[in-house]
Amino acid sequence: MRFGSLRLRRRILSRAFFAFMLPLTLLYLPAQDLDLKKTKSVAESQHEIVIILLGKKEFVRAQEEANKIFQMKWPQSQEPVLLKELLWFSDKFLDSGQPELAVRLLETNLSTFKDNGSKAAIWKEKGYLLKRMGQDDKALDCFREAQRLEKIKLRP
């Protein structure tokens, strides 16, 4: 009897929870989707601006404009896209003979990333750039940090 009443109470509670949460979720999701769409649209323009500035060899301005993409309000789900973008920009700066700016770009935007895997990827790229710049000791430190973060990520 007592067990039955507990089950009943649980059922009522779960139904009440869904009754309240479902409409809230349905209201919240489209709003969030709309925000993301807006952010993506701005980021798309920023991306194009950076490409144009890189083409015009205005590297410092390009780096500043690139920073704006990562300073926007992004949901956690977009982190892989942002990482891809950051590493690609870093590559572009390196191709343009601007490894210092690439390092600065990575350093400035590292804090945007929450996932240890993403952080490790950024540290590795920074290490690679520093190695290319002949700063072997600093490069080794970056790889050490990347390795540490990857180990944390792999830990169950």
Binding site: K40, S41, D91, D95, G127, Y128, K131, R144
Partner: protein, 183 residues
């Protein structure tokens, strides 16, 4: 040369330990000065006496016995081992210290070996990434050459438009990832 100088150098003169010029001066002074000559004679006699009797004088056995007895009576000074004096006194303490030293050494050695191992791992981790990035960069430069219409690259690529089956690395060509509308 005066008497004082002669007196100072007399023993050295007797032993033949002074330069010839000084020896000549002393010899001349001794011929002229009676008192210095007398002193020289005395010294020479003493030296010849010691030479003649050296090795003949043997101390009496009582002297040896007395000497031994006095040495035996003298207090033995404690051996000094500095900070480790207590180890000599206590075998257990010595064993404990030896054991502790061995443990410290073993831990240090283990730590050093682990450090070396992790450094090797880090180096291979770094080299792996650098190797991958170097390949990617070569690919980039080839793509750039292709983009600028290098005939050798275009010929190498030919008409095979197969999709790369290993396309897991960062894409060489990169579209705007934030594009919201279809091109």
């Amino acid at each position: 040369m005066d008497c004082r100088q002669c007196g100072d150098d007399l023993t050295a003169y007797l032993d033949g330990e002074i330069p010839d010029s000084v020896a000549e001066q002393i010899r001349r002074h001794l011929e002229e000065c009676r008192s210095c000559h007398a002193e020289y004679q005395e010294l020479r006699d003493s030296a010849s006496f010691v030479e003649l009797h050296a090795g003949e004088i043997e101390p009496a056995p009582e002297i040896w016995n007395n000497l031994r007895a006095r040495i035996a009576e003298m207090p033995v000074p404690a051996e000094s081992f500095g900070y480790f004096h207590f180890l000599v006194m206590n075998r257990w303490a010595a064993a404990a210290v030896t054991l502790a030293a061995m443990v410290v050494l073993a831990v240090g050695l283990l730590g050093y070996m682990q450090h070396q191992q992790s450094e090797r791992e880090l180096e291979s981790y770094m080299n792996e990434y650098i190797e991958m990035r170097t390949i990617m960069e070569r690919l980039h430069s080839l793509q750039m050459m292709e983009a600028h219409g290098d005939p050798s690259i275009i010929e190498a690529i030919g008409s095979s438009q197969m999709e790369n089956p290993f396309a897991s690395i960062r894409p060489v060509s990169f579209d705007n990832p934030f594009r919201t509308e279809e091109k």
